[in-house]
């Protein structure tokens, strides 16, 4: 009896998580998968097993081009946020000595996040617009004759807003892993005659990899699933995968959107698997 209880305990302990994940993760994804095979018209969805939602999605050059575009955003935003994230975290972890200052500066990093995502994004519009702050300043200072058009409603605007929105998701995990790096390792390296750059390259960077990996997962998944930033900052001129889905949903083409979502899920999961393959995040936690 006692034996049975001790064997059942781990299962009982896992039950709450199982229920939550089952209801809020597994079940919706299962429904998504089922619906993606249904038929539809403007009035409703009709259960069945049709593969044309996938055929239409995968057979259209729009899908490929849109995935290309979204992956391009993901790659550029990832590179920039990883660069910024690493240096901000490095500064916080190794150059700021007092723990209290560290905490204060880290909180300063999070201040912009106290406002809504949408507001932070939209506030770029008056800054970058044709008659916006940047253009007024440039024209006023005589640097350019005509306002610079590509600042707003362009890929540049999309990437700028995304970096702004998602940089902290990179800073936080990297800062976290860097704080766990044993300072004596840095001292040992210095005693051994390593220069600052050698320490960063050979000691800190390898040890910060799990943080970079976690940050990368955040940033990549957020960019891949983004629709509002792309819609607003490109002025509807650029497409993203999620935006394509949203267009389909607003036209009540749910099965088509579901098929699209399943494809996106597979792509993103493969990307996350790839990141985890390169860096074992559990090793260093």
């Amino acid at each position: 009896m006692n034996n049975l209880l001790s064997r059942a305990t781990p299962y009982l302990q896992a039950t709450p998580l199982l229920i939550i994940l089952g209801f809020f993760l597994a079940l919706p994804i299962l429904l998504l998968l089922v619906v993606s095979f249904w038929d539809y018209d403007f009035a409703g969805m009709y259960p069945g097993f049709m593969t044309f939602n996938y055929a239409e999605t995968l057979g259209s050059w729009v899908t490929w081009k849109t995935y290309g575009n979204t992956l391009k955003f993901a790659a550029i935003v990832w590179a920039i946020t990883a660069f910024i994230g690493f240096w901000v975290a490095y500064f916080l972890a190794f150059h700021v000595r007092k723990a209290s200052t560290q905490t204060v500066l880290f909180l300063v990093c999070t201040v912009p996040f106290l406002t809504s995502n949408i507001i932070r994004m939209i506030s770029w519009i008056p800054v970058l617009g044709r008659n916006g702050l940047v253009n007024s300043a440039l024209v006023g200072a005589g640097i350019v004759d005509q306002p610079v058009e590509w600042l707003l409603y362009s890929d540049f605007a999309v990437i700028l807003a995304m970096v702004h929105l998602y940089a902290l998701f990179m800073v936080t995990p990297i800062f976290n892993t860097m704080m766990r790096i044993d300072k004596s390792l840095v001292e040992a390296a210095r005693d051994g005659g390593a220069s600052d750059w050698q320490i960063i390259w050979n000691v800190i960077l390898p040890l910060a990899k799990p943080g970079i990996a976690i940050g990368s997962i955040f940033v990549v998944t957020l960019v891949m699933a983004d629709f509002s930033t792309v819609q607003v900052m490109s002025g509807g001129q650029s497409a993203s995968v999620a935006l394509m889905m949203r267009n389909q949903m607003s036209l009540l083409q749910y099965p088509a959107a579901a098929a699209n979502a399943v494809v996106l899920l597979i792509v993103v999961l493969s990307m996350v698997a790839g990141i985890l393959r390169i860096v074992d995040i559990r090793k260093e936690l």
Binding site: F42, A43, G44, E56, S60, W61, V62, K65, T66, N69, I125, P126, G129, R130, N131, G132, E149, L152, Y153, Q231, S234, G235, G236, Q237, A239, M244, N247, S250, L251, L252, Q253
Partner: protein
């Protein structure tokens, strides 16, 4: 204890009586409901109305409650959701407030019951545009889903639209308007006369069209035809070849950088115009008013090819019967009796029964909104905000000039699904 309850009961009944009398008094005083039975005040009836147009206006529900005692429960949705709900949840509403192109999709499924024209008190006051398609006897019938083509059926249980006027009306028209391009007169620097002007290389990177496929394609069609690129058999029902030609043209214009942005919501169109990012774009009339209310010059420019028009109406759910059906007719008769018409006209839309609406508008309001005359005093919106100063003239002029020059109506195409797919390609390209 019993005593107390009784007392409360009596006093509440007294209160109700006084309240009803006050309402009736006010109504009689304003002359609003002469000839209407006030029976609904004693026998409360609720009508559930959902849709895209007038369901957004709470003032109408309040006035209806005051005049008729009928409680209107209004739900506003976007047009695609409205079409779906009309068909899939026919018992969830009593009155459908939908656009005519949605009716074309929805009516054949049997969820809307035709109205008997003999029960419509103000049928003869409804403008002929909704009966024959001609505003004046010599008007040309516009392309697209013109309301009169889906306005009548032969019999009560018929699912097919009749060719001409019959005894059965599918919807009572409520709200409609003529759309065109909005411009910044201070920034375009020249006369704008045609839909083709939006493609002028001088405005490269300073134009926008709306990213709602079913409406955007119509604006694109107006532009295509104005440029002389193509002549459509029916803009409102393109063939796949015509859709291809139109989308290919849009994709080329986009890649040449003609457009600054594509807008999806009302506020986006206002901001694009107000910030000067675009100087000429597809626009809706309340958006033009919103830009102007910021003190920025904006004009709803009439164009020689004519307007793209839209219109909506009220239809009766198939399940309505008995007292509820009577109440629904009562509501629709009240609706066309003038107060609502005046209210809509004052917002810059048009009422279907113009003669009755006239009685609820001042001479100056009627002159400005409907006759295209210069305003004598300040023109105010129903909520009291000043819309135009004295001397202003409505863009496009009078009702007859505007609604008399409709080139096409919003519509649903047979190749709808193909069109949406190609439209998505245009946005992704």
């Amino acid at each position: 204890m019993t005593d107390m309850i009784k007392k409360t009961g009596i006093s509440r009944r007294n209160l109700l009586k006084t309240g009803a009398a006050a309402v009736a008094g006010a109504a009689v005083g304003s002359g609003a409901i002469t000839g209407f039975p006030t029976i609904w005040a004693q026998n409360p009836i609720t009508l559930r109305q959902f849709g895209t147009g007038v369901s957004n206006l709470n003032a109408i529900a309040e006035k209806c409650k005051a005049d008729l005692g009928i409680t209107l429960e209004m739900t506003a949705t976007d047009s695609d959701a409205a079409a779906q709900r009309a068909v899939t949840q026919p018992d969830s509403y009593d009155i459908a407030d939908i656009e005519y192109w949605i009716l074309k999709k929805v009516f054949p499924t049997g969820v809307i019951q035709p109205m008997e024209i003999s029960k419509l008190k103000y049928y003869d006051k409804i403008v002929p545009l909704f009966k024959t398609g001609k505003l004046t006897p010599d008007s040309v019938i516009a392309q697209g889903t013109a309301p009169h083509t889906v306005g009548f059926v032969e019999a009560k249980d018929s699912k097919e639209f009749a060719k001409g006027e019959t005894e059965f009306f599918t919807m009572v028209p409520t709200i409609y308007n003529a759309d065109t391009l909005g411009i910044r007169p201070d920034l375009v620097g020249r006369e704008i006369t045609t839909w083709a002007d939006i493609m002028d290389p001088a405005f490269k990177g300073k134009t926008s069209i709306l990213n709602i496929p079913s409406i955007g394609i119509m604006d694109a069609a107006m532009i295509m035809e104005a440029m002389g690129n193509i002549t459509y058999a029916d803009k409102g029902n393109m063939t796949t070849a015509e859709i291809d030609a139109t989308i290919d043209f849009l994709i080329k214009a986009k890649q040449d950088g003609q457009f600054r942005a594509f807008w999806k919501s009302f506020d986006e169109s206002v901001n694009l115009m107000a910030s000067g990012e675009v100087v000429i774009q597809s626009m809706w009339s309340p958006a033009v008013a919103a830009v102007r209310s910021k003190g920025i010059a904006c004009k709803y420019q009439p164009l020689k090819e004519g307007y793209r028009s839209w219109g909506g109406g009220l239809g009766l759910a198939a399940h309505l019967e008995g007292a509820q059906l009577d109440a629904a007719y009562e509501y629709i008769n009240w609706y066309t009796s003038g107060w609502v018409g005046g209210y809509l006209n004052r917002q810059g839309y048009y009422s279907a029964a113009m003669d009755t609406a006239k009685e609820y508008m001042s001479e100056d309001e009627w002159g400005y909104w409907i006759e295209g005359k210069p305003a004598v005093g300040e023109i105010k919106a129903p909520d009291g905000t000043v819309m135009e100063k004295a001397g202003a003239v409505r863009d496009g002029g009078s009702f007859l000039e505007r609604m008399g020059h409709v080139a096409c109506w919003n519509s649903v195409m047979d190749e709808d699904r193909y069109m949406v797919r190609r439209w998505n390609e245009f946005i992704a390209a």
